[in-house]
């Protein structure tokens, strides 16, 4: 056995890449409470002080501290950079040579890079512009292939936010492999795969594609070794201690965010892996608890500093400058043992040691079987910081096994074995209006979908409407899959994630993630048509733009099957339709009900709806019931969302929940107990995801009016956390308008 693996329990992981097997054989489950945790060291505090002053400066400069416009950001583009200096930083590595200085990555679209520079008062250098005259970017490729209908659907806001002008992201490299095996072994394995593939008798298009992929991967794996060397570390061999394990793993992640500026750059399920190395060093007496915490603190500081340069249009979709350094932890093994380690606690502790923060996006994989003290600690962290989210391990494990992680907000994938083709979302509310208008856009009046009859100005018949709706959903599903096929064909061709994919198995399984927005608006609209009397009103051009609603109707969010089941059927139907059109590279179709912050933008692009929502008003985020319509309290609202079927929404069902402290319980202990009961009760019903905010609406209003009052106020929005002050005014208002569950 290798010296680096001394005292590790041997298994199949020794011969083949199998991190999951390594973890399960070697991790130490921890059943105790948080009392062992340590505060920040003086060194950590010093480094954090520097970070905080940089963050203030960044905010003052409109959100971007500095941009290096002179060269393209890649793995080896910049020399070493430090937060404080070489001796003070423990875990080292920055994307550029200065903290928070952003690099330019034009591979997904040179136009976006130029616009992003301009938006913050910079000018992209002529050198880069010239270099890209002769280079096709992803964006150019996509628009060459787009059909007229795709362009129109995109423009009208039926299909929006697609990764056709920015990098797709949502791919998680298995960075743990670098620490466990060292780069040389990993390169060797990839070379072997390539050699084997070359032996095939007939090299078909997919094989040739893969051969080129592998060549690209190997090239970038070698570059990563170069990146580590520039900081003075040789990662060709396995890590020999906790520090190296964390540093090696971080180099992998750093290389990935230097090479790629995808929409979400998640880091995966790393806590329990790191814990094995920490435990070994603690036992050997070469590490103290204080030092262990310091390592985790320092890793997290580095993760908080990751930045990408974005356009204002991009920020409209994904507000608050997120990177989605999603870090999933805890969960249960397939054998039923919980995977909480002391490092699961240490990662959560960073929110106290370093202050609350949006990144990394800490995601607790919740199971009824998690140890009680850990559940309580999570609840306490939620109440204190509003910085973590919960996802149901008991439903995800059924599909993804016990070594999956979360990309972005709610997208599960097996570590190193699955990747995702991210696909933003389509607008379910708008397509309903289009169905009523015979395929015309209700705002511009343009014919977008195939022409059909326009509904008359008389009380709508539910069955007729639903039949027409289904017809247009079928049309949309086919269009959506084909659009995604073009996007991901081009992304693979022009902006392939070489390093991240090198940290996956070669025969990777691909998921194609579709999404819906306007879910609750569509559902309530259908309910209104079914249970009340809805009469459409046309404008002078004969387009239905308003609705007259007489009578009451059940609203999604009150645990009322009459309406909740309409929603359940709707997503099941749409998912089935999506699956009918094959996806690029044999990908499996998946679906999410997640809007991130684009619910505001989608609402802007959608006319008045039969549920009483006026033209331009925001949608509710994700799978949330519409603001203010859940009248029977928080749990009724949770029960409605819990009815949605994860089997057909396996890319996630996002629900954001805000409650005032007084409504959650009488005192701190009582609040913790009640939050744990709430999470257990929600997830027991096979619900998928919950963002938890415990705060006062008054505090948010005060923060909106005077951002200096709460500089690090973090809140959970759709599947991630943001610094409240980084949201634009309209998004702040939308967050405040959302249902707050409070005690009277």
């Amino acid at each position: 056995m290798k010296e680096a693996w001394k005292n590790f329990k041997e298994g199949v992981w020794c011969d083949d890449i199998n991190v999951s097997n390594f973890i399960k054989l070697n991790y130490t489950a921890y059943d105790g409470d948080s009392s062992f945790l340590k505060g920040p060291t003086l060194r950590t505090q010093r480094e954090m002080a520097r970070v905080n002053s940089l963050l203030v400066e960044e905010q003052k400069k409109g959100g971007v501290l500095d941009v290096d416009t002179s060269r393209v950001l890649t793995i080896l583009s910049h020399g070493p950079g430090y937060v404080v200096d070489k001796d003070t930083d423990i875990i080292v590595g920055l994307q550029t040579d200065e903290p928070l200085k952003r690099g330019v990555s034009p591979f997904a679209g040179i136009r976006s890079s130029i616009q992003a520079c301009n938006a913050y008062g910079y000018e992209l250098s002529d050198k880069i512009k010239d270099e890209f005259i002769y280079r096709t970017t992803h964006n150019t490729g996509v628009f060459r292939a787009y059909t007229d209908t795709m362009r129109k659907a995109r423009h009208a806001g039926i299909l929006t936010g697609l990764p056709d002008a920015y990098a797709r992201g949502r791919i998680i490299g298995d960075y743990r492999r670098i620490a466990l095996y060292g780069m040389d072994f990993l390169i060797e394995q990839k070379q072997k795969d390539k050699d084997e593939l070359s032996q095939k008798e007939y090299l078909d298009e997919e094989t040739i594609h893969l051969l080129e992929d592998l060549a690209k991967q190997i090239e970038f794996m070698n570059q990563l070794k170069g990146l580590a060397l520039s900081y003075g570390y040789d990662i060709s061999k396995p890590a020999t201690n906790a520090f190296e394990a964390i540093q090696w793993l971080y180099f992998g992640y750093l290389g990935a965010v230097k090479e790629q500026n995808g929409a979400a750059n998640s880091i995966g399920r790393i806590a329990e892996f790191m814990d094995i190395y920490i435990e070994r060093d603690l036992k050997a007496g070469t590490l103290t608890e204080e030092q262990a915490q310091e390592l985790i603190d320092d890793l997290v500081i580095k993760l908080r500093l990751v930045r990408h340069l974005r356009t204002p249009e991009y920020n409209d979709l994904f507000a608050g400058d997120p990177v989605w350094v999603t870090l999933a932890l805890a969960g249960i093994t397939g054998e039923g043992k919980h995977m909480v380690s002391k490092t699961s606690y240490r990662v959560l502790q960073t929110l106290y040691n370093l202050g609350s923060s949006a990144e990394p996006n800490i995601t607790v994989l919740w199971s009824e079987k998690l140890p009680e003290p850990f559940k309580k600690f999570c609840a306490k962290v939620s109440i204190d910081t509003d910085s973590i989210q919960y996802e149901n391990d008991d439903v995800m494990r059924r599909m993804y096994g016990d070594d999956y992680a979360i990309a972005c907000c709610v997208s599960a994938m097996k570590m190193g074995k699955q990747m995702q083709f991210f696909g933003a979302r389509c607008n379910l509310a708008k397509i309903l209006l289009m169905a009523l208008n015979g395929g015309k856009d209700e705002i511009a009046g343009e014919q977008i979908a195939p022409e059909g009859p326009v509904f008359e100005e008389k009380v709508l018949d539910y069955d007729e409407v639903y039949t027409a709706y289904k017809k247009y959903l079928r049309w949309l599903a086919r269009l959506y899959v084909n659009t995604m096929n073009i996007i991901h064909y081009m992304h693979d061709k022009y902006a392939y994630e070489r390093l991240m994919m090198s940290l996956h198995d070669t025969d990777v399984e691909r998921l194609m993630a579709f999404g819906v927005s306007g879910f609750s608006v569509a559902v309530d609209s259908l309910s209104a048509i079914k249970y009340a009397k809805v009469t459409p009103k046309k404008n002078e051009k004969g387009i239905i733009t308003e609705f007259d609603v007489k009578g009451d109707f059940p609203k999604y969010g009150n645990d009322d099957d009459r309406v909740d089941l309409i929603g359940k059927d709707l997503v099941e139907y749409f998912y089935k339709e999506l699956c009918k059109t094959p996806a690029y590279r044999g990908a499996k179709h998946t679906l999410s009900i997640l809007t991130i912050t684009s619910n505001v933008m989608y609402g802007r692009k959608t006319g008045s709806t039969p549920d009483g929502r006026k033209a331009g008003e925001p949608f509710a985020p994700g799978a949330n019931p519409m603001h203010g319509r859940d009248s029977e309290g928080a749990l009724a609202s949770l029960n409605s969302v819990a009815k949605l079927n994860y089997d057909c929404c396996r890319d996630g069902i996002s629900n954001t929940f805000s409650i005032t402290p007084d409504a959650l319980g009488r005192d701190d202990d009582n609040r913790v107990d009640n939050l744990v009961s709430m999470l257990d009760g929600y997830f027991e019903q096979d619900a998928h995801h919950l963002n938890v905010n415990v705060l006062n609406r008054e505090k948010l209003i005060a923060a909106m009016n005077d951002p200096t009052l709460y500089p690090s106020l973090t809140i959970r929005v759709s599947g991630y956390a943001v610094n409240f002050n980084k949201l634009t005014r309209d998004k702040q208002e939308e967050v405040i308008a959302r249902t707050f569950h409070k005690a009277m």
């Binding site: 029977e632 749990l635 609202s637 009640n674 709430m678 009760g681 929600y682």
Partner: protein
Amino acid sequence: MADIHSFESLAAVDGEGIRFDIFFTGCPLKCVYCHNPDTRFGSGKDYTAEEVFNKAKRFKPYFRNGGGVTFSGGEPLLNAEFINELAPMLESENIGCCIDTSGSVKLNDSVKKAIDGADMVILDLKFHNPESYKKYTGGEFENFIETGDYCTKTGKRLWLRTVIVPGINDTKEDIDRYALLAKRFNFEKYELLPFHTMGFFKYENLGIENPLEGTPPLSPEKLTELRDYLNSII
């Protein structure tokens, strides 16, 4: 059938654990500080015990750490018959219930049975003497005493609550007298609640006179001071 004003599926302060609150309409009292005057009038929404049971049952997954159903209002004991129909259904699902009452209903067999069937009672100790009780609530002090005594006699788990209103019952002398009165009951807990103005808009919406218009909410400091004092003498 019972006329029900509304449901609150996440009530965390009206009893132990997470509670599903059922707010009945109708109340024999007209407390000056009432924050739910809208429950005095019928809502026109009638529910059968079975309908309410089916609703409550849906929240069973959240009822841990002693959580369950709380009957509130309005005055829930005006609906004692209904509660007596519903409670066994809840019991069949192992869902416990709590009655949040002013004790203002005359203690008859039906009310006794409702109390017997509950896991615990939260009793409002509104005023510490019959004159103030009559003046500020319009109700009979005697009914309240009988209800409290009955809970004590039957060994019912009992929490007491008093709303403290500035200028009406917010002195230490008041607390002394409340404590003295409370001692005749066998209670687990005695909570002081601050008078707040968040229910004022309801008076406006209903177009009825708000007897405490202009009264400020009780300050958190004052509440802490009185709470500490109460805890030191009981």
